[in-house]
């Protein structure tokens, strides 16, 4: 946990859950702690408890019981995922349907919900748009699809909530080991209730079975979409469809492996024919050929049986994309020439100053400045090599070799991304605070207008109410909204870079672990032999 990450988490929580939750988060980020150490000074305990419950309800805080204490801990990754929620919704809209999008949105807003509550609210939304399109069983079908794909997961179920609430002995509820039960919701009754526009009475038959979204599955989905987008840029839409098909076969798993979707040529071809992509099926060989050539090798041939076994090289793709991203960051921050020097270092593992000057075709003095800038900003690392000049000892000459330690650079950039995200959120908060009263007024007038329209007020009355906000105020409102939108946009862009870097680091960590484990195994074997 870095300082920047902590700050970012606090700011995200502040934006959505308020100041009390922010101070609770701040205390929790130091490590798991019991309740009395989580209550910030100057905050009423009741409020701190409420904040903790709100965070827990949204899956940001977890608890474990330890003796007579309950320890709370915060999931920083889950907090950061909140920034990505719009992107999750977009994925739903692109790959599934509007109803799926609504379901996920409901779950994001409420944290966790029983199925019948989801059906009711989503049904209400559909009904408000077009009463003829309302079909509760249809919504349930969409929900089941999302569950099958792993986007929605069941919250751990309490064994017996009634007795737990009555019993004073138990500190924490006991949970049933994960069992997905078929939920029987009375779809017809819900349908009736929506049509008669009755209020949600909250007494659902399945109120103990709650659902929430699975952040890691969504992250995997976005990672896949990055790879698909890369394929589209490399070839065309059909190439993207091909990669999507190959990925979708394995997307039921959370594929953490560097290579996924092992499929033979003929199976792939028949699958594609089923999707009615005839033009793709005809040129399948060519597409596969193009996708596995060049620097960006998205597809890899891993066998010859069945007309050739093909798979998606996830890790390699992410590696190359990350290198490109870092390169373009260097380019935008320090100019084209610096980017050229950086690319040179990236391509040749170790280069010395002479080589840089000669290969990059940049005058010696300028090249030195550029190398200096790169190492100053931690894009390039320096390694000192001593080599003896003469045969005898003593006369040593140092050679300085430059190289790029990509995981190191990426870690630094992740920090920078978090810092700038924090800055954006801070700025946003300040904007909101500055114009808080104006925005409040605007909100109230809007609400008033809405009720007046519902009551069927005359045009003149509406105009009168509308005039409560003066033209200069109106200008100010648009300006504030514009600034907020711009900041949100920046936030989203930074986050998309951050996601790529995080995926890269995840793969890198995994590779490292694998390497160390195989090395460990080798060592133990050797020990046994001796």
């Amino acid at each position: 946990m870095s300082l920047q990450q902590n700050k970012l988490c606090c700011l995200i929580v502040r934006e959505l859950f308020g100041e009390v939750a922010e101070s609770v988060t701040h205390l929790l980020l130091r490590g798991a702690a019991p309740l009395n150490r989580v209550c910030p000074p100057g905050v009423m305990k009741q409020k701190a408890k409420r904040a903790l419950a709100a965070l827990m309800h949204h899956g940001l805080v977890n608890f474990v019981s330890q003796g007579s204490l309950v320890l709370y801990s915060i999931d920083a990754l889950a907090v950061q995922r909140i920034l990505r929620y719009p992107r999750y919704l977009q994925q739903m809209k692109d790959n599934f349907s509007d109803i799926c999008e609504s379901i996920i949105q409901e779950l994001m807003n409420h944290g966790r919900l029983p199925l019948s509550a989801i059906l009711f609210t989503v049904g209400c939304r559909v009904f408000a748009l077009d009463p003829s399109k309302l079909a509760v069983p249809e919504i349930e079908k969409h929900f089941k699809l999302l569950r099958k794909e792993g986007f929605i997961e069941q919250c751990p179920r309490v064994t017996d909530s009634e007795s737990y609430l009555k019993n004073n002995e138990e500190l924490v509820p006991s949970f049933v080991s994960k069992v997905v039960i078929e939920v029987d919701v009375k779809a017809e009754a819900i349908h009736e209730r929506i049509v008669s526009s009755a209020a949600d009475e909250g007494d659902h038959p399945d109120k103990n079975i709650l659902w929430r979204i699975s952040g890691s599955r969504f992250d995997a989905q976005i990672r896949d979409s990055i790879v698909i987008e890369a394929a589209v840029r490399k070839t065309d839409e059909l190439g993207g469809a091909l990669v999507k098909k190959m990925l979708s076969d394995s997307s039921s798993r959370l594929h953490q492996d560097p290579i996924v979707g092992d499929i033979s040529f003929f199976v792939l071809k028949s699958d594609i024919l089923k999707l009615c992509l005839n033009s793709l099926a005809e040129k399948l060989r060519d597409y596969l050929e193009v996708l596995q050539s060049g620097t960006l090798k998205i597809v890899r041939k891993i066998g010859d049986s069945g007309g050739g076994q093909y798979a998606i090289a996830l890790k390699d793709t992410v590696d190359v994309l990350t290198a490109y991203a870092v390169r373009s960051i260097v380019q935008e921050r320090h100019g084209t020439k610096a980017a050229r020097v950086f690319a040179l270092m990236l391509d040749n593992a170790f280069v010395d100053q002479e080589q840089i000057q000669q290969t990059a075709l940049i005058p010696a003095k300028e090249a030195k400045v550029l190398t200096y800038i790169l190492s100053e900003n931690h894009f390039a690392s320096v390694r000192e090599m001593r080599k003896s000049v003469g045969a005898g000892a003593g006369a040593m000459k140092s050679v300085y070799l430059f190289h790029v330690d990509l995981p190191h650079v990426v870690r630094g950039l992740v920090e920078r991304c978090e810092k700038s995200l924090g800055n954006v959120l801070c700025r946003k908060e300040a904007e909101v605070m500055d114009s808080e009263r104006l925005m409040d007024k605007k909100r109230r007038v809007d609400a008033l207008l809405k009720t007046l329209v519902e009551q069927g007020a005359s045009q003149e009355e509406l105009k009168e109410v509308d005039a409560m906000i003066t033209p200069p105020e109106r200008d100010l409102v648009t300006k504030v909204n514009y600034v907020l939108d711009k900041l949100s946009s920046a936030e989203l862009e930074i986050d998309s870079t951050l996601l790529l870097f995080q995926v890269y680091l995840e793969f890198d960590e995994m590779a490292k672990r694998k390497r160390s484990s195989t090395r460990g195994r080798g060592r133990s074997k050797r020990a046994k032999a001796s």
């Binding site: 959505l16 009741q46 409420r50 608890f63 309490v158």
Partner: protein, 235 residues
């Protein structure tokens, strides 16, 4: 100082030539910098424009929706900040509007059973305490100020008055009795009573209610429930 005893190595370690750093002889050295660098140096390159288009619009609006939903929802909990009296007053006014929102249940009661017991609010206890406090305030105030006059005369008699705790307890008992007597009166008085509350409240500040937050309007006073940390509002 450390190298004093070792005369031989001194010449090599202590100085270095510019050539070693790769600076040629006669090459212009930068002039000395006499001021700190600017806090916000102008960026060397302008950042790229943010991407636009319908997709970005969609993302932004989704973000806006989530934000506005969460800010209005009961999940958003505001702290009463009273760094200075004006901002304290402003936030107080705002909070009163929000009270309904904050008291609203965050989620249905069955959800509470998923959490550790220490977090589950005790609804009954809180309510009982609230009613008691409200009663006390109203009754202390309603009898045309005679209550206070009586109390003041009593205080005069006792001189020093003894410890404050006793006084408080005494007034409490009295007011409770008064309350029972005036129950039917109260209903009739209605609005007048409210006005009196405002009038006499100022006097009360010096009396029994000194421990309360100055900006607390009487009726909503006990909403905070737990009064562990409630005393001594920071003005």
């Amino acid at each position: 100082m450390g190298s004093r005893g070792r005369g031989r190595g001194r010449g090599q370690g202590g100085t270095f030539s510019m050539e070693q750093l790769g600076v040629q002889k006669g090459e212009g050295m930068p002039t000395a910098v006499l001021q700190p660098p600017p806090v916000f140096p102008p960026p060397e390159y302008r950042p790229l424009p943010l991407s636009t288009g319908p997709r970005q619009e969609y993302l932004i609006s989704a973000k806006r929706d989530l934000r506005s939903y969460m800010r209005e929802s009961p999940f958003h909990i505001k702290q009463r900040s009273a760094s200075n009296w004006l901002s304290g007053l402003v936030t107080k006014i705002k909070e009163d509007e929000r009270v309904r929102n904050e008291d609203a249940p965050m989620f249905s009661s069955c959800c509470w059973s998923q959490f550790p017991k220490e977090l589950i609010p005790v609804a009954e206890g809180g309510k009982a305490r609230k009613r008691k406090v409200v009663k006390r305030k109203k009754s202390a105030v309603k009898a045309d100020g005679t209550d206070i006059l009586e109390k003041l005369s009593k205080l005069e008699e006792t001189g020093d008055g003894g410890p404050t705790v006793e006084k408080e307890a005494g007034s409490d008992e009295e007011t409770d009795d008064e309350d029972d007597e005036n129950k039917d009166k109260k209903g009739m008085l209605g609005i007048e009573e409210e006005e009196q509350v405002e009038e006499v409240d100022e006097e009360m500040d010096g009396g029994t209610d000194y421990a309360n937050n100055y900006f607390d309007p009487g009726d909503e006073y006990a909403d905070d429930g737990d009064d562990d940390n409630d005393e001594g509002g920071v003005y």
